[in-house]
Amino acid sequence: MKNETIITIKNLVKRYPEGDTEFTALQDINLEFCRGEFAGVVGPSGSGKTTLLNIIGSLDSPTAGSVHVLGHEIGSLSHRESAALRNKDIGFIFQVYNLLPVYTVFENVEFALMLQKIKASERKKAVMQALEWVGLADKHKKKVTKLSGGEGQRVAIARAMVKRPALVIADEPTANLDAANAHAILKMMKKLNTELNTTFLFSTHDEKVMTYLDRIIHLEDGKLIKDDIQSPKEYSL
């Protein structure tokens, strides 16, 4: 299953209107990702990293070309279908965590499962397990506003992982963390990647993140510059 292709991008172009003209955010991108990959898209600001991940995550749609994610053609999905894809198969981790501020840790993680209409008892079990993965089971009743940055991002990871998605998209997940927390978070994600065979796609320009990645895709001005497969490293997971 490790070599099963779950994302296929062909001739992807993304343009945004900019006044009377158009700005090309992505140009002629061709990529494939397999199940269980721990890959990152790197490049300077404005290179198109986030745009690429947003399209893969079905939050945005391509202007031209095709993007297939887990058998779904992103460009042809309706709002409802893309919402269902995100709900079941894609987890998101954001730079600023994007936790729901009025909810507790438990409620934040539980949210995606509520959308899937899973029974309360099953939800509780799954949420507690996800919180165990990130080491926050003892803080499940705390309001997320009372957590530190590192803890907040761990809640975000638990929220992304609780539904056991095939794909996790992490947009600059360590940008707001100090070095120690960033390493802890990355090790946690690598561990989940190994144990659950979940594909992780990062967008980053953080050197720390790059050292953990198996594959680095370089973007510049919306163009694919380099696609590097890195040799596996030894981590104390």
């Binding site: 947003n54 995550g57 939050l59 945005d60 709002h79 409802r80 919402a83 269902a84 894809l85 995100r86 709900n87 079941k88 998101f92 954001f94 600023v96 994007n98 936790l99 729901l100 501020p101 009025v102 909810y103 409620e107 949210f111 995606a112 509520m114 959308l115 899937q116 209409k117 929220r159």
Partner: protein, 385 residues
């Protein structure tokens, strides 16, 4: 819907003070609207009940030349009632006159009514007397205005059918307590038969009041006005007062709804990252719109619950003890008792609940529609202006 309710409840509870402020304002408005309407309904019911009991009966027959709104018609507006059975009617003879309490002169309406009538609640039994002095009854308003007390003897004067002045001393046998000003203010009630003799108008009446048993056939010289027609002006006055008063609670409701609308509009911009997160977690846009609408509607439901908790015991107490009306309000020409018992009916409460919930839902839905047009990527970045 269950999910939207669960999440909306969590969001509102999580928002803390902001939620309770909105709920508090809306609950206060709701209570005020129910109270005001209950008060007006209670007043209306009391006014109608008293008007029927003291003045209207089941309807009036006026002599064709008598118009209650035209004082010039009193002189010639009288005739003989051609009815077989007088037990179902109360004939009343009306004349203009003056009263002289302590040497002062006050214009009055002199009304002759049978002492033994039982259709109206006026205490006409006090008009029966074996003594030489003619007994009379007056209402509390007139007693206060004229400073005449029970037991006083006062002189009244009138013109007889030939236009000659005549006068007699009457004895105030009773000052009655009645909340219908139109049988009280400026009026002296006298026993019909002696009054007819005094005025030289034997067998004559200006009008007669009927009861339910009265057979309402056509009487050529008499104009019929049903109870409903007679109550119409009173209803109109109460309705117009209700409408006037409703401006206050429409304003209050407007402020409360504006607070919700404002909260919702601000929420959509302030919570755009949250909306983007909802979408990224797999909510459809219509689910997010529904969530925000339910949140707004839930304010009103929570307000209704809060209002019921406070309002039920409070309104029960008020409806039992009544509301004392200041003396100044009782001197108006409207029928209003010293104590008004508000009437809080289920239909009134249900209508108000529906009004508040529907209005709150509507003002929540309107701004929430914008969410459907939101770009989730821009929302996640918090860049929507």
């Amino acid at each position: 819907m269950k999910l939207a309710i669960q999440l909306a409840y969590r969001n509102l509870m999580g928002a803390g003070l902001k939620t309770w402020l909105n709920v508090g304002i809306l609950a206060f408005t709701f209570l005020l609207i129910v109270f005001y309407n209950g008060f007006m309904d209670g007043w209306n019911a009391q006014a109608m009940r008293d008007s029927v009991a003291y003045e209207f009966g089941e309807g009036h027959y006026y002599h064709k030349d008598y118009d209650p709104k035209d004082p010039f018609s009193i002189k010639d507006g009288h005739g003989i009632i051609q009815v077989d059975n007088l037990t179902n009617v109360v004939p009343i003879l009306i004349r203009q006159g003056s009263v002289y309490p302590d040497g002062r002169m006050m214009p009055v309406l002199l009304k002759g009514i049978p002492a033994k009538q039982s259709i109206l609640d006026l205490p006409t039994s006090y008009l029966q007397s074996d003594e030489e002095t003619i007994p009379a009854i007056i209402g509390k308003r007139f007693a206060k205005a004229s400073r005449i007390q029970e037991g006083d003897d006062v002189t009244i004067r009138w013109r007889d059918q030939n236009g000659s002045f005549d006068a007699v001393t009457i004895h105030i046998a009773k000052v009655f307590d009645c909340d219908v000003p139109t049988v009280d203010a400026g009026q002296i009630w006298l026993p019909l038969y002696p009054f007819r003799s005094l005025t030289g108008l034997d067998y004559q009446s200006s009008m007669f009041v009927i009861n339910k048993e009265f057979d309402r056939e056509q009487y050529p010289d008499w104009n019929y006005k049903s109870q409903e027609e007679l109550l119409k002006p009173l209803k109109m006055v109460v309705d117009s007062k209700k409408a006037g008063g409703s401006i206050m609670y429409v304003l209050l409701l407007g402020i409360a709804l504006l607070a919700i609308f404002d909260t919702q509009v601000l929420s959509i911009f302030r919570r755009q990252k949250e909306i983007g997160t909802y979408v990224s977690l797999g909510m459809t846009r219509s689910q997010v719109v529904k969530l925000f609408t339910v949140e707004g509607a839930m304010y009103s439901i929570m307000a209704v619950i809060a209002a019921i908790i406070v309002g039920v015991p409070l309104f029960y107490l008020i409806s039992q003890s009544g509301i004392t009306i200041p003396q100044s309000s009782q001197t108006t020409s409207l029928s209003i008792s010293e104590v008004v018992y508000p009437k809080f009916t289920l239909s009134l409460i249900a209508t108000m609940i529906l009004l508040v919930v529907l209005a709150a839902t509507m003002v929540s839905y309107l701004p929430s529609r914008k969410i459907a047009k939101m770009d989730p990527v821009q929302a996640l970045k918090g860049k929507i202006q």
